[in-house]
């Protein structure tokens, strides 16, 4: 049943774009349907993705995986304290090396785009913040999250007492069933009431 159209099909030049935009029209349409990105955004993403590959491999950019170190050189990700988590969450690589294919890259941009629903955004935000991948945000996850926010370095992190107070306040506000952890529904509930979330959880190329 998998009538998937992949990029290895006829490499007809797709839509608008300069040299090297060899994304076939079928694939373009499919990606438009499966993600929140517009045609221009997909083409721009393709261009940026193929620039991450060495020259000789740019022809079949769709089927290759880019190693994590190259992905992290993107300006949109290099200043981001959650860069490693983002690569981990969106990568579908079986080897666990967090390399990203073009479709993973599109997935990421789709979730972070302007038109993504807040449901999707909060779902992926939860996965990004879940540092130990156990399905809930417990105290250790929250501690790591706050340390990511305040930056690296000794003088940048909060003192132990402040961290305790902060985590206590966060749990008070968001932990509805008072089990000491925040699960996905609680997270989505508290984020839906957060007015800044939609505007800050956004990456536009």
């Amino acid at each position: 049943m998998a009538a998937a159209v992949t990029c290895e099909a006829e490499a007809a030049p797709g839509g608008m774009g300069g040299a090297g935009s060899l994304l076939p029209r079928e694939a373009l349409r499919e990606y438009q349907e499966l993600t929140f990105l517009s045609k221009q955004e997909i083409l721009l993403a393709y261009k940026r993705f193929s620039e991450l590959l060495p020259k000789e491999q740019r022809e079949n950019a769709c089927s290759l995986r880019v190693p994590k170190s190259r992905i992290l050189t993107l300006p949109e990700l290099r200043a981001n304290p959650f860069q490693h988590r983002i690569c981990r969450v969106f990568s579908t690589s079986e080897e666990g090396d967090d390399s990203m294919s073009f479709e993973d890259f599109l997935d990421m941009l789709s979730v972070f785009s302007d038109s993504a629903t807040s449901d999707i955004k909060s779902h992926y935000a939860f996965r990004i913040f879940d540092f130990d991948d156990d399905g809930t945000l417990d105290r250790k996850d929250l501690e790591k999250l706050v340390n990511c926010l305040t930056g690296q370095g000794e003088e940048a992190s909060l003192s132990n007492a402040e961290m305790e107070q902060l985590i206590q306040n966060i749990l008070e506000e968001s932990d509805i069933d008072k089990d000491g952890t925040i699960n996905l529904s609680e997270f989505q509930h508290v984020v839906s009431r957060s007015p800044d979330f939609a505007s800050s959880f956004k990456i536009v190329l």
């Binding site: 008072k178 000491g180 996905l184 800050s200």
Partner: protein, 716 residues
């Protein structure tokens, strides 16, 4: 790995848990491992992970905990409802969505023809809408500039520039309105284009002395700087152009066969632009409002908002990222400290409270004194300026300009000095930091907007005369034969001066300071550093300008065009100033609370603009020498006049609506509806509270049962 961690950390467990209620269960370390396995097999946990991904698409995103064997993989009757949700709203990777889509397409064959057609047509309709939205978004003004500012400085400062863009568009629309309905018919009929003409009905039953109006206009060959002075003050040749009210002295325009009721059009366009501004501002501010009505918490100050939505993912610059880290750290530490201060405040003794309250009352009296000082100086300056300019001869350009601009200068000085005094005073009042900021802002807003009100009030005191000399026309016809143009000129001067000050401050204060800091390594200079980009100051500046524009458009219909050009240029000036000469604010600004704050203050400005306009239109007699309302007592009088021309049935209906017999029952019905909604909201709040308590109980029951099960397992 488990959600419990160390045994002692469970809130709510143990007699001294934070919930305060004594529990008789003690967590035991032996259970730390077992409950986790159970928890991960609970149906609620697994369904939350997959989030209704639908049949066949449900790969467990957490990896390989538990088999997938339990899921049914065949077509299910609820496949139809699941497919109604667009594919991309499923939280799956592209490969999985592809599989889901293929599955749904196979599923379609089982549906009837009607359902098939319905689904395909809704899909194509959604696609068309999406394409339209996409193409519209590319027409947005300054899209690229604002995006680059966002990348470098974060969403807080970006919200200021989006606000500026909003004002440019608003002013442009207001200009189109006024131009289309007021200026264009006048110009067409005055120049006889399209076979049109205008009707000037002779004034009835007023003294002829009121109708004498001779603006100086174009005096032929004069010195160049007279033109410059006229351009800057709106007098002379500018007074007779379509910029000011005095030009529109026609009573009706006859465009081929249509009789265009010009006075009515002028008044209705004024109401229309005010209504347009009100509706648009409210529409923009509604989204920041919705959630706070159901829950009591202050949503902008909540820790969850700061932590989960704290990082701007759109920051691309490493320096900006560093600054953002620092400001986030600062913000979190300040908030935690504020909480500690609040707890301390609650512990104050009565004697301390008395002392602080008496200090606050004293300081508020000082604030009131400062305000009265500002108002009085504006009043005197306006009176002086008006008297001098009415008695003047074009002697000296500089002193004449200075006298003309005196009110604007005094207002700008007051707007600059008063906030400094307020920020010094508030330190002694011993409020919590967040409240301090709010109160200072409120006071600054009040000063800026009230200054305009005082200016207008002093103008009217000049136009109205105390003695009987103006009984003939109701206003001071000797000095102000066309008083609306005079008010329009004052607003015009305020606008121009405001614009010049913004340019001058950027040119003569920001750039030299930046050059000094970059090239001079003297310690005090480096310690001063660059000026911060103070968002609230900048916003108050442009809201002040916008309020002037709203008030002034009635008296000077082309003022919105000037305001549009002014804000357009200010965008680029501020952008360049921000990038080169300013540093980002130390205290982080949140986009959502900024947006809300901007729009609330703008709304206050709009409401404050209603008051002078309402008084001018309805209360003060319109000038009999110029303008479309010559033949009416006040500008408002044209409306009852028009209603008298309607058929009697319609007249009766309109009279009925305006009478008390309708208003009182209407008011009572509105009150009843309001009480109903308040009661409904209260009931919902109570239900929410009960459900929360129930959830806590359920969670405890669940953990208790799990512990019992593992105990029972151990025994067997």
């Amino acid at each position: 790995m488990s959600g419990f961690g160390a045994a002692g950390e469970l809130p709510g467990w143990g007699p001294d848990g934070p919930s305060g209620r004594g529990e008789i269960f003690f967590p035991e370390e032996a259970h730390a491992a077992a409950p986790a396995d159970f928890l991960q097999e609970l149906p609620s946990y697994r369904s939350v992970l997959r989030r209704r991904a639908g049949p066949g698409g449900g790969q467990d995103p957490q990896g390989s905990v538990g088999p997938r064997a339990g899921e049914a993989r065949g077509p299910q009757p609820e496949g139809a409802e699941l497919a109604a949700r667009p594919l991309r709203e499923h939280a799956l990777s592209i490969a999985e969505k592809r599989r889901l889509r293929d599955y749904q397409q196979a599923d379609i064959k089982y549906l009837s023809g009607w359902n098939q057609w319905k689904r395909t047509s809704s899909k194509s309709w959604k696609k068309v809408l999406k394409d339209i939205k996409e193409s519209l978004s590319y027409l947005q003004l300054w899209r690229h500039d604002i995006h680059s500012i966002e990348g470098k400085f974060g969403t807080g400062i970006q919200s200021y520039f989006s606000f500026l863009r909003f004002l440019v568009l608003l002013n442009f629309l207001i200009f189109i309105l006024m131009f289309g309905f007021v200026t264009l018919p006048t110009v067409i009929s005055k120049y006889g284009i399209f076979n049109s003409s205008f009707a000037k009905i002779s004034p009835k039953s007023t003294d002829s002395v009121c109708t004498v109006y001779t603006p100086s206009g174009n005096k032929g060959l004069v010195y160049f700087f007279t033109y410059l002075k006229d351009l800057l003050t709106g007098t002379g040749f500018l007074e007779t152009t379509s910029l000011f009210y005095g030009y529109y002295t026609i009573d009706a325009a006859l465009l081929s066969i249509v009789r265009y009721n010009f006075p009515l059009a002028y008044l209705l366009t004024t109401f229309a632009y005010l209504a347009l501004s009100l509706v648009w501002i409210i529409k923009r501010s509604v989204s920041g409002f919705k959630q706070s009505l159901v829950h009591d918490e202050d949503q902008f100050q909540s820790y969850c908002n700061k932590v989960f939505a704290g990082w701007d993912f759109c920051i691309t610059d490493l320096n900006a990222a560093r600054l953002k880290h620092r400001s986030l750290q600062y913000e979190l530490q300040t908030d935690l400290e504020e909480e500690r201060i609040k707890r301390k405040i609650a512990d104050r003794t009565v004697k301390e409270k008395l002392r602080i309250y008496s200090l606050r009352i004293f300081l508020n009296i000082i604030v009131l004194a400062v305000l009265s000082g500002c108002f009085y100086s504006i009043y005197r300056a306006t009176v002086f300026s008006q008297e001098k300019s009415n008695n003047s001869n074009d002697a000296d350009l500089q002193t004449n300009l200075l006298v003309q601009y005196l009110p604007s200068i005094v207002i700008t000085l007051a707007n600059f000095i008063a906030p400094q005094i307020f920020s010094i005073l508030i330190r002694f009042e011993d409020y919590s930091p967040a409240f301090e900021i709010k109160l200072t802002l409120l006071r600054c807003v009040f000063v800026r907007l009230a200054n305009i009100g005082v200016l207008l009030f002093s103008l009217w005191s000049q136009i109205h005369c105390a003695n009987d000399s103006c009984k003939a026309c109701g206003y001071n016809y000797e000095l102000y034969p066309c008083w609306e143009s005079a008010v329009g000129q004052e607003m015009y001067k305020l606008l121009i001066f405001d614009f010049m000050i913004i340019l001058a401050v950027t040119l003569f204060m920001d750039f030299p300071r930046m050059l000094l800091v970059t090239h001079c390594s003297w310690k005090p200079v480096q310690w001063c550093g660059l000026q911060e980009f103070g968002i609230s100051d900048n916003v108050l500046e442009i809201i002040y300008g916008q309020t002037i524009c709203w008030i002034g458009t009635f008296f000077s219909p082309l003022l919105p065009a000037i305001a549009t050009i002014k804000y357009f240029i200010i965008f680029y000036v501020k952008k360049i100033s921000l990038i080169h000469t300013r540093k980002p604010p130390g205290r982080p600004i949140r986009a959502s609370s900024s947006n809300f704050f901007f729009l609330v203050v703008l709304l206050i400005g709009l409401v404050l603009a209603f008051i002078p306009l309402g008084i001018s239109i309805a209360h003060i007699p319109s000038s009999k020498a110029c303008g479309p309302f010559r033949n009416f007592n006040t500008s408002w009088a044209v409306v009852p006049d028009t209603i008298l021309g309607f058929p009697t049935g319609l007249q009766k209906v309109l009279n009925g609506i305006a009478s008390e017999a309708f208003a009182v029952p209407f008011f009572m019905v509105v009150c009843l509806i309001m009480f109903y909604f308040i009661a409904l909201a209260g009931a919902h709040k109570r239900v929410v509270e009960q459900l929360r308590e129930q959830l806590v109980m359920e969670s405890r029951d669940k953990l208790f049962l799990i512990r019992k099960i593992t105990e029972a397992q151990k025994c067997t």
